[in-house]
């Protein structure tokens, strides 16, 4: 029996990914979660992190997200994000800018705990990416 489900990653400009996947690991707002076939219908949103898409045993694709919304229904996973990029396409410059920008924001005292939570995760996510 096939154990894969449909995954669609959509940005406002285009459909980035539309294919079958066996397992998708998401940095959901309240913690990481992995989704397999026949998962219960769920709606959640993302914090910055890495989305791991397992297409087959060994074929794993990774995407970097800053935010986004996820819906799983009827074995279709829709991931909406304006800031999603394939890890392969990330440039060193972009990441450096992002880190600098994030650190600047963290130094601002006015930010809320919520913002701080998001920003820290952004930094953590960046650390994981290797060049």
């Amino acid at each position: 029996m096939e154990n894969n489900f449909k995954l669609e990653i959509v940005s406002p400009e285009k459909i980035i990914f539309s294919d079958k996947a066996i397992m998708v690991t998401l940095p959901s707002y309240e913690g990481e979660m992995s989704i397999l076939k026949n998962h219960i219908s769920i709606i959640t949103f993302l914090r910055p992190g890495i989305v791991k898409v397992q297409k087959s045993e060994k074929n794993i694709e990774e995407f970097f997200v800053e935010d986004g919304t996820v819906e799983f229904f009827n074995d279709t996973l829709s991931l909406l994000s304006a800031s999603i990029q394939n890890v392969k396409d990330l440039s060193k410059n972009f990441m450096d800018d992002l880190v600098k920008d994030t650190k600047d924001k963290l130094e601002n005292i006015d930010i809320t705990d919520h913002d701080r939570y998001i920003l820290h995760h952004k930094l953590d996510a960046v650390k994981v990416i290797k060049f």
Partner: protein, 292 residues
């Protein structure tokens, strides 16, 4: 009666105008294809977004504590109208149609004694509206310097609107844009984005979707609804871009055809007056010879 020389000049000037309109039509046609593609590519995102919001708002039990973006402020006094037009002219009735639609809405609001605030996006709309409604315009922006409008611009405008909303500057927000139906037809649209319009609610009540929410519904909505505003504005941008090019193409096509007709008409007048001059000269010569 214009002289032959004048006619000749006019014909050549109309011909060069025709060349320009023809070139503009070709450019618009090429751009249209690209704009149409990106409008189509952008549709799944806003559709899915709408879908999720629909599901969420259906499953919210406690309407009172729901996000202000969904249920509104409870008042209906101050209206913000975001009029999205093009930065360039020469595209037929494109800008005028949006402005007309917006003006009708403005009149309705003012007649009901409510307060009106206008936010213009695109310079043509601002030019058309500032004479009559200049006092109401609180914000304006245009993208003249940009080659391509991306999601970032939509997000910037969305954030401005959200900021105004959080400052209680308005209760209801509408956006005006042209919806691209096909090359010949663009429909001026007004869409209410705050509070979110009742999205075809209860239509599929029987198929009741049971969703798990993580975190709670309200928290997701608080995150999602502001984002939805940017999405809707971006959708309006894409539709507008395609409509603008479509409208320009039709307008320039008509202009080229009209110029052709004008050239034909002028050529006939030119030939006739040339023939008349020749005949006149001949008659003069003949009658001169006869009188000898």
């Amino acid at each position: 009666m214009p002289s032959l020389d004048d006619l000749k000049k006019r014909i050549s000037s109309v011909k060069s105008t025709q060349k320009i309109t023809k070139a503009m039509k070709m450019v618009a046609a090429a751009k249209l294809r690209r704009a149409q593609e990106s409008a189509e590519k952008g549709r799944p995102f806003s559709e899915k977004m709408n879908n999720i919001i629909l599901n969420l708002s259906n499953s919210i039990s406690d309407k009172d504590s729901a996000s202000k973006f969904l249920v509104g402020t409870g008042k209906d006094d101050v209206h913000l109208c975001v009029v999205i037009t093009a930065d360039r002219g020469l595209c037929g009735g494109f800008n005028t149609n949006i402005c007309r639609k917006a003006k009708n809405h403005f009149e309705k609001i003012l007649k009901e004694g409510k307060k009106l605030k206008i936010f213009t996006v695109g310079s043509k709309g601002h030019d058309q509206l500032k004479r009559l409604y200049g006092n109401y315009i609180i914000e304006k922006t245009n993208f003249k310097s940009l080659k391509k409008i991306t999601y970032k611009e939509a997000e910037d405008i969305g954030n401005k609107i959200i900021k105004l909303f959080n400052e209680n500057q308005f209760d209801v927000c509408n956006i005006f844009y042209n919806k691209f139906k096909n090359v010949i037809t663009q429909i001026p649209q007004s869409q209410q984005i705050i509070p979110v319009e009742n999205l075809k609610k209860q239509e599929e009540k029987n198929i009741e979707n049971f969703y798990e929410f993580e975190p709670e519904e309200n928290e997701i909505l608080n995150d999602l609804l502001p984002r939805n505003i940017s999405t809707q504005i971006f959708k309006a941008f894409l539709e507008n871009a395609a409509s603008e090019q479509g409208s320009r193409m039709t307008a320039m096509d008509n202009a080229t055809r009209n110029a052709g007709e004008l050239v034909d008409k002028l050529t006939i007048t030119y030939n006739r007056s040339r023939q008349a001059a020749i005949t006149k000269e001949l008659i003069e010569i003949i009658s001169g010879a006869e009188s000898l």
